[in-house]
Symmetry: C2
Subunit: 456 residues, 2 copies
């Protein structure tokens, strides 16, 4: 008999609820603050940006939040996603470890991002919203929201970081194929964009600037709201379908993870695979090690400060307590654009602070080396972001070999690398160098953090 | 209750046999001839290029040929592939038609090609072959064989048509990620390549030239064989997993196709979806219409001659009777590189000749228009080749609307377009023009067909 390499669930097993970690935390995370009053924000403060249904999810402490049937119907197109047992990789590593990976690259946009994009587009349509604005770096989030907008008949405008807009025309083409309008940021379409261009006409842009532009438009128009692809509680919530499915699939495989590895940029794919397992542990279930892997060039969890900070460069967003490198920190250019963000999701920061997870930073060349090794054995070419998780999982598997111990390692392969082949070309051509951030710049960005007393 | 949009089969339902149409044909196809003697080729003539197991499949008349367990084990990674009911597309078209599509883009290389690449790599490894050579145009076949070579530990050398090598570095990067060596063709590595370069140093290359180079190397080395991605009987055979799965999935959907649509270049993805259904019809089962869609710029089925011709430009291959534009015909450049071949698979040509299938040619802009419409409703961005099938299926669905008849339409979405976004950019930018071949060039190429009397 052949051993299974792929675990799929029947479509009836697509989760009916998202899992909300807030219900099981030993202590609640610090509140989000209004940037003017420094008081905790209320629903009305967020109403210009988000529909009430999503604001309710942002603050909910219910353990299970029902997935609306129209969202499940769209999920059905690619969910459940496969859980793989990486048998060829295990053999190549000569490890006694059992390596499992959940593969989110089968979605229409090629990553985990549609899990929340579809939900957000649905709730916005229900609220009568005609248009959504958002930002995108590498383009994975922008193309996911473009897809979701096409499905629910919502116009989508994407502010794409200038340097990516120029360097990644194919991700832009994907957004346009789905019917979205893609604008290079900083742009002349917002007053914040114009102010940036006035002082630096050649600006490459940044995620923080693009967020400010998207927020400005949404805040100033009645028929338009804003959608964020990571960081916020409701975004992390929507991603828990990943971990919920993985739990059921591992049950079918008659196994349970000893270690979970996920890469972290804003934190949403990491939360998606981790939270359901962590919740089970917090309710008295089996304990496991959880490892967050981040890029050494943008190391918010391992080198950032746990402090209140803005989510954007224009300082239009509320203040959230999170691991941050400072909202003015400009990470060096590296290929995992999805991990190039100064802050970490408040919920992920919180569980790090509670000592529930470990964090580790890797350089990009070692991640690409791991990704190519993975591709040659498992056949799937990972996105540069996902290579961080691959590297983390391989290191855990090598440790198993060295210790002579068989452990179950689970990681999330959050997307494929089909739109990132230039990075692979650069890697093969020896043009992909490790990137170091500037220590004095980091110190300056951290010194510039807003001074906020912890609210009572 | 929500209506199903996706039909998946349990991994135990991955076919255990390939289906061989030869068993059910009312008349056998004309034999393949030795180019020197003009006598039917025997196994020994093909032995320098292929292992005996594949040569046996090439001439077999057994209805079912067992899929070796190690091949099924690799298939298991992405098979069974989903069969979708295109409900959002149906609504957008306001058609009473039931549109189904089988999606082969979920494979590691993103197309149907690994179905045969994995099988060919397996049989070659069993025969002790150390190295495989092949050609590739758009790169889908080359990357599939590169993947299969990585899985079975066989070295792969790909001759990639020069113009694609220069214009499609990302497909090349994918082959290199899988560990294959990719060479621009014409190259200095073969005497045929050197002869082409001597007379036209700036040659863009062609599939016919690249085949000659790959065959030359395989024929001259003991440890090296050749692998072809389409046209041959055994290649079409391996692709029948597509149609066999689709039959079982449609049974689960309680439906049966009235029409099947497939795009045709060499003929393998078309054969894959069509042959199992056609076989059932030939054995007395339900009759259906079958439509082959080809590019108007390279219309072998609709404008070619049914005649004996070479498979390559260097005239190293045997002669096969097929619909051909002549082996010296150079189709104009268009974006569906996988459909740019002068000939059609002998088996597909044969059933066309028997009146069992229809054929239709489309221009590329109308195919891209259909592809973008499809992407906005179904979420999947098709490869330019697959856009031809999408266009054909949409036309059938529109006909259903006009006639007020509900028919079941099945088509094969043979691959995704992630590596073809330049074509979409060109389409959106108005730079994608329809291409006409030169009538006098076609006449000349047809006049140059080898003169072969039909063997007795």
């Amino acid at each position: 008999m052949t051993e299974s390499v792929k675990f799929l669930l029947d479509e009836s097993r697509i989760p009916k609820h998202w899992y909300n970690l807030m219900a099981d935390l030993p202590a609640p995370p610090p509140p989000v603050l209004h940037p003017g009053t420094l008081k905790p924000v209320g629903p009305d403060d967020l109403a210009p940006l988000f529909p009430m249904s999503l604001i309710a999810q942002e603050v909910s402490t219910e353990r299970e939040i029902e997935i609306p049937e129209p969202v499940r119907e769209v999920y059905r197109q690619w969910r459940t996603t496969p859980l793989y047992r990486a048998r060829r990789l295990e053999r190549a590593l000569q490890t006694p470890a059992r390596i499992y990976y959940k593969y989110e690259g089968v979605s229409p946009a090629g990553s985990h991002k549609p899990n929340t994009a579809v939900a957000q587009a649905f709730y916005n349509r229900e609220a009568g919203v005609k248009r959504l604005t958002t930002e995108t770096g590498a383009g994975q989030w922008g193309s996911s929201l473009a897809f979701a907008g096409a499905v629910f008949g919502i116009e989508v405008q994407v502010f794409m970081v200038r340097v990516s807009y120029d360097q990644k025309p194919y991700r832009r083409a994907l957004m346009e194929t789905y019917g979205a309008r893609c604008v290079a940021s900083p742009s002349m379409e917002t007053s914040f964009g114009r102010s940036v261009l006035a002082s630096s006409p050649e600006s490459n842009g940044s995620l923080g600037i693009a967020i400010s532009e998207a927020v400005e438009i949404a805040a100033s128009r009645d028929d338009t709201k804003y959608a964020l692809g990571s960081v916020l509680n409701h975004v992390l919530l929507h991603q828990t379908v990943i971990g919920l499915e993985a739990m059921a699939q591992l049950e079918a495989a008659d196994d349970y993870p000893d270690v979970i590895v996920g890469c972290t940029g804003g934190g949403s794919n990491f939360a998606g695979i981790v939270f359901p397992f962590l919740g089970s542990q917090l309710r008295g279930g089996r304990k496991l090690r959880i490892v967050a892997v981040e890029p050494a060039a943008c190391p918010s969890l391992t080198r950032g400060r746990y402090a209140y900070d803005f989510g954007d460069t224009g300082h239009m967003t509320p203040l959230a307590k999170m691991h941050t490198l400072g909202s003015t920190f400009m990470p060096p250019g590296f290929h995992a654009g999805g991990l190039r963000y100064h802050g970490m999701a408040p919920l992920v920061s919180h569980i790090r602070q509670l000592g529930l997870i470990e964090a580790r930073a890797y350089q990009q060349t070692q991640c690409f080396e791991a990704g190519v090794f993975f591709a040659r054995h498992e056949g799937i070419v990972p996105a540069p972001e996902a290579n961080h998780a691959v590297k983390g999982a391989i290191d855990e598997a090598v440790r198993c070999r060295e210790e002579g111990v068989s452990r179950a390692i689970l990681f999330n392969l959050c997307g494929h690398g089909h739109f990132d082949m230039q990075a692979y070309l650069d890697y093969f051509g020896g043009r992909l160098a490790d990137q170091e951030y500037d220590e004095s710049e980091l110190a300056m960005a951290l010194a510039g953090l807003p001074s906020v007393a912890e609210p009572v």
